[in-house]
């Protein structure tokens, strides 16, 4: 892919806008700037044909102004605008944004939990990739399919996340990546799901990925069976584990959620409920899949243990929450959500999964999870894609879609029998507003019982 040399991907242009913005400040004013830019190619596929194809060049600058009306009395507001990469026009937009912020911030009440910029470490990260030329994408994507029905989305291009504040701190994160998030279908419309993603396009690896998926697809050709409702043993492949653990970002692992009554982990903290000693979860930025800094410029620890052997060691604590409850921050993002979680591996060998499962359900993916009782940790959702009924260690047939309704205290607690010895990286491929970064490292999970309701 011929990469854009737009100013929006140039750290010097970001510096230029920073200096211009900071020059507009009045006494007792402080400014945080956050930049998110991308130049993306999207190809949407259905039936191994092109449904929609196009490019998006987008850039959003968020200016957060803090005004100290009296010592320690802070007022805060923010204004985001799209950038063009054209200096004159962007400066006019920023000037108008700062003017509006300055007028408004004096008109809103003090925020007791707002923070002033801190003098802290800056960072610079750049990772270049080798992406497909735009003109080659469609032919390369479709050529190995050989009439296999595929639906999905190819997304590729550079992404920037950056921040700076008026006290001199600056972070820059630039990456180039691609992902093909896809599903393949049998003639009877049974499907399996995959994601082929990375920074360097490798046509041989892609062809191999397609061949492997096509081979697995044949397992889905037989007639699906209806599994009765009830409690069944289950093996959750890493993509299914990803869905369960992601629920902790929905009012679970954040300290504010625990303190304010939303989170199931309140019961874990008080000892009312337990997770299995087999379960350990950390956040780990060492592999550089996502920026360590948050919108206030704080660097999260490179590694933070959250759950260790079933015990809640740390929650995600933003500086705002820390100030409100008088505790130490671990520089979580303001939403206190997981960014690069890692679920610890166990000792279950890949070759032994079916044998250890015995009779039960092999679940490749879950779908549409939601809390049915959030403080109680009760969750509901569906099975999806390549799910099988297994008897005596052998795949018998694909199964019809089933609903489960169970608590995380059960699934991650007394039901958890083992985790695979290898982990898979499940990349975040969402693209609401902009393409997501990061992902989760997780193993497969063997459960002694999971409750299915219909």
């Amino acid at each position: 892919m011929t990469l854009s040399r737009s100013a929006l991907f140039d750290p010097e242009y970001f510096d230029h806008l920073n200096q211009y913005s900071f020059g507009l400040l009045k006494p007792k004013e402080f400014l945080f700037l956050s930049l998110a830019s991308e130049e993306s190619q999207f190809v949407r596929l259905n039936s191994a044909k092109v449904r929609q194809t196009g490019t998006v060049q987008d850039s959003i600058l968020t200016l957060s102004l803090v005004y100290e009306s009296e010592p320690g009395r802070l007022h805060k507001n923010s204004y985001s605008l799209t950038l063009t990469g054209q200096s004159y026009e962007d400066q006019i937009g920023i000037k108008e944004a700062v003017r509006r912020l300055q007028t408004e911030v004096r008109n809103i009440p003090a925020d007791p939990y707002a923070e002033l910029p801190k003098d802290a470490e800056s960072s610079h990260f750049e990772k270049r990739g080798t992406l497909l030329e735009s003109s080659e994408v469609i032919s390369q994507l479709l050529s190995p399919l050989n009439k296999t029905d595929l639906a999905g989305i190819y997304s590729a291009g550079p992404i920037v996340r950056a921040m700076a504040h008026s006290e001199g701190q600056k972070h820059w994160f630039y990456t180039e990546n691609f992902s093909l998030d896809y599903s393949l279908y049998t003639s009877s419309q049974r499907a399996l799901k995959g994601t082929f993603a990375g920074a360097n396009w490798n046509p041989d690896a892609y062809a191999q990925e397609v061949r492997n998926a096509q081979k697995q697809l044949t397992l889905l050709e037989s007639k699906p069976i209806r599994v009765p409702r009830g409690i069944h043993r289950a093996y959750l492949a890493p993509a299914a584990v990803f869905d369960l653990v992601t629920m902790l970002s929905w009012g679970g692992i954040g300290e504010a959620s625990i303190r304010q009554g939303d989170s199931l982990l309140r019961k874990l903290r008080t000892g009312e409920k337990q997770f299995s000693p087999l379960l350990s979860l950390e956040q780990n930025f060492k592999k550089g899949e996502a920026p360590r800094f948050n919108s206030e410029g704080e660097l999260a620890p490179e590694q933070l243990i959250l759950i260790e052997n079933g015990q809640l060691r740390n929650s995600l604590i933003s500086s705002r929450t820390a100030k409100e409850y008088g505790i130490a921050s671990n520089h979580a993002c303001p939403s206190e959500t997981l960014r690069v979680p890692v679920v610890a591996a166990g000792s279950l060998k890949e070759a032994d999964i079916l044998k250890e499962l015995g009779t039960g359900l092999y679940l490749s993916n879950l779908h549409y999870l939601n809390w049915s009782d959030q403080p109680g940790g009760r969750i509901t959702g569906m099975t999806r894609y390549a799910c099988f009924w297994v008897e005596n260690g052998k795949l018998v047939a694909p199964m019809e879609t089933m609903r489960f309704d169970d608590t995380l205290f059960h699934l991650f607690g007394s039901s958890l029998l083992g985790l695979t010895e290898t982990q898979s990286f499940i990349p975040e491929v969402g693209s609401y507003e902009m393409r997501d970064l990061g992902g989760m490292w997780c193993p497969g999970m063997l459960l002694g019982g999971m409750t299915f309701t219909c």
Binding site: S40, R44, N46, S47, K49, V50, R51, Q52, T53, G54, T55, D58, I60, N77, S78, Y79, S80, L81, T82, T84, G85, Q86, E89, E96, E104, N107, I108, P109, A110, D111, S134, S135, I138, S139, L142, A151, G152, D181, S183, Q260, G261, D262, E272, H367, Y368, N370, W371, S372, D373, P375, R378, T380, T401, R403, D405, T407, G430, S431, T453, C454
Partner: protein, 488 residues
Amino acid sequence: MHSMDSSNDFSNLEKALLNFDLPQADWIGMREVHEKATHRMVRDGNPYINETTVSHGVMVEVLAQGQFGYAATTRRDPQSLRSAAEKARDQALKAAQFGVYPFTTKHRPPTQKNYQSTYQLPFQEKTAGELNATLIRICEKLKRSSKIIRTIALAQIVETEVKWVSTNGSRASQKFSLITTDFEATAQEGSVTQKRTDGGFRGRSFQGGWEHFETPDLWQRVERVAEEALELVVAEECPSETTSLILMPDQMMLQIHESIGHPLEIDRILGDERNYAGWSFVQPENFGSLQYGSALMNVTFDPTVVHEFASYAFDDNGVEAHKEHLIKNGILIRGLGGIESQARSQLPGVANARACSWNRPPIDRMANLNLEPGATSLNDMIASVDRGVLMQTNRSWSIDDFRNKFQFGCEYGKLIENGKIVKTVRNPNYRGVTVPFWNSLKKVGDSSTFGVFGTPNCGKGEPNQMIHVGHASPACLFENVEVFGGSA
């Protein structure tokens, strides 16, 4: 600089369009969107969010050799728009031999319509300080007991201007004023925590102005939300049984959205969403024959309701929008598919090709999707139930990828015995399967039970798009539904 030129000034776009002279392009269209969203939220009496986001860009779409390609850009000068058009054309040409359908210029009909939301109290009439003061006062009123451990009040306003021009004569504009408000009280006693909101997660969403926020009943609603949160922490769990179920309009909106709206989207039926949002149990041959629900069920796509959240004059393919029945007397007759999906499927559809902003292409979306009122008052409906549960206000939703098996949860329940409400129950949930569930519809409330709601958060599409939709419904009675409570 960052406000769009007035709606009837198309000079920048038209000038660019005239100068394109793009070889191999059969059609070019440009959709310029300027959107200003302001979000204010107060938690426990303190400011939590005071943010404004302005998004401004142009989606350039080109038809070449039967394939549309697009290029979206924040740069709006003629040279950049031409460059975007070239990119879009090149995308189209590379895909042309692999396209799902040979599109023509008739799939982008010319329109000259103009539309503007109506409102009584414009957003400019309330300053940030005034709005923060009102939100703080709501939190103070909600905090009526030490058992209330968290209070939240919020308002989100969105002002959107869309201009649409094309080489086959479109010159149209739409201006939307959207408002979403909510407040909530979370109560805790011992290990029981319960939350009550004003209409569910952003359910109070309308087109209009501040008249939808400071309504005459605002402070009564605040009182009620706090009172009901306190009721819930000492209430019994909803029983687990198969019984009669009355759903109030602020839960019906979710029921309509998930089990009628999404399965009727023709792009889902065609498989476009198989890799993300999912497919549909509805087959093309079902149109005109499937008994989707009981004969009391009448569902319309209605973009003409003045204050409903997703009213408009034309969709993002330039197709003029009209009210249409999708389900009449329980029979499925029409799908939710825009002009492209109609051509691909040969099914009857509506003008619902919508994009969430300038940076995404249009796809089939719900807009206003409503269940028409029936003839039963709420009192008569309750009186007709020997035993059952009345549920109000959505808080949880999950449904399979074919939109068959669902499980939904509500904030607030009432147990009904012998035709009377006897007590409050907490964690009311229910599950079912779409077509049998709608065929168990036994009574539809009259217009006195009718409520108009909406949501800014309907997610779908690849790349992903979050869009606003409206839903209106009366209260409804269903029979033989599996209901249950929360975790032990």
